[in-house]
Subunit: 214 residues, 2 copies
DNA sequence: AGAAAACTAGACTGTCCAGTATGATTTCGG
DNA sequence: CCGAAATCATACTGGACAGTCTAGTTTTCT
């Protein structure tokens, strides 16, 4: 399981091809809109092989959803590290972080995955709930830790509940652009100037509560 | 069109029954999962009548989505009025507003509609985009106006961009509970104590930037 | 090499569903 | 009360698709 990516046998290779293809198909068409024939074709594999690897469509879906966290988690961890760890100026660091978050989370495939999970939240409550806990919530807890780290360097004041503070930062920065991206389709893009205003203002509000200089 | 709800003829009555039934079916099963037979059965109407009133499934969907804003808009307007208009204490007023927002927006049918719109954002970009502009964005602009009204009564300081401030308030209050409600299925409910902490802290952060007393 | 396991192409089953057609019945305006 | 329009129940068409089956081919392991 840990070494899923390291397997090189024919079976493992084909399994991975199926996962890649299925991810593409599910993200593009949704659960009901996805066809197993298309998955097989896109994976360059026969339908039998798909059903040998994954009992049925539901299992394949679960596998895809739960397997698609890693990239984003790594990406976000990098964003935290690069923007916060060496920082000396709180405002600049938080601004940079805000942009990295916006960039990471409005990437097309991230939005599509989130749409998929939301759409199927009632059909697959366990899978979607697990995705949320292990992906979404975990990312914000990690962000909380990263923010708490700024306290140690005198850039923020003491935080009682770093996770809550992380949600507040995320909410200030992303509530508007994220909702637009989710609701208004992948096509609509905000003008760059707007993201600047949002990030600037969010950081100002954030620092007026949590900045080290009162 | 304006008087759709006032029509009493047989045709108009049946048309409304179809809309009600279709709303239920689409919200429950999603676009692809919804069946026109179920809509007809639930409306107590023959399939022919459905197709006489609505050209096809797509049109029915569009009609449903675009017709489902009014209740929530009215609800939110009431929330703004009741919590802000007579207020004398900014903290108390904003706390009350926060709870009203959470209550209104985590209602089951609201969540289901939002899931539906998000899920179909790529399939029906015009319809979902229109829903977003006329429903979501409009609500936040209205909230901005309501908040700006607090400035006049000395409860908040001057707001350069009331809409942006409204998004920040909404983000502070709802980013966490709304995401959980959207992703983790309708079943998961936060403990009441958590909403208290979120609302309290959000209002504190908000006021430390926008409160009239510095 | 040779047997076992994996894979392939393609046909097939059963089901579901959007949308149409039909012929009988009900409603309603004049 | 009569005729037009609306509605009803029901059956049908055509297509999509999940999942199975078969018979032949390729890979892998020993």
């Amino acid at each position: 399981m840990i070494s899923a990516m390291e397997q090189t046998g024919r079976t493992a290779t084909k399994r991975r091809a199926i996962q890649v293809a299925a991810t593409e198909v599910f993200l593009q068409h949704g659960y009901l809109g996805a066809s197993m024939d298309e998955v097989a074709a896109k994976a360059g594999v026969s339908k039998q092989t798909v059903y040998k690897q994954f009992e049925n469509k539901e299992r394949l879906f679960a596998d895809i959803v739960l397997g698609t966290n890693d990239q984003l988690a790594v990406n976000l961890a990098a964003a935290y590290a690069e923007t916060l760890e060496g920082a000396t100026d709180a405002r600049e660091a938080l601004r940079a972080l805000a942009f990295r978050l916006l960039e990471s989370l409005t990437a097309d495939h991230v939005l599509q995955l989130r749409r998929l999970v939301i759409a199927e939240a009632d059909r697959f409550p366990e899978v979607c709930g697990a995705w949320f806990t292990r992906g979404f919530e975990k990312s914000l807890e990690t962000l909380g830790q990263a923010l708490a780290g700024l306290t140690g360097r005198g850039l923020l004041r003491e935080l009682d509940d770093p996770t809550l503070v992380a949600y507040q930062f995320a909410g200030l920065v992303m509530y508007k652009p994220m909702n637009r991206a989710m609701f208004a389709g992948t096509r609509v893009r905000p003008e760059p100037g707007e993201l600047d205003r949002i990030a600037d203002s969010a950081v100002t509000v954030f620092l007026s509560s949590y900045g080290a200089d009162r």
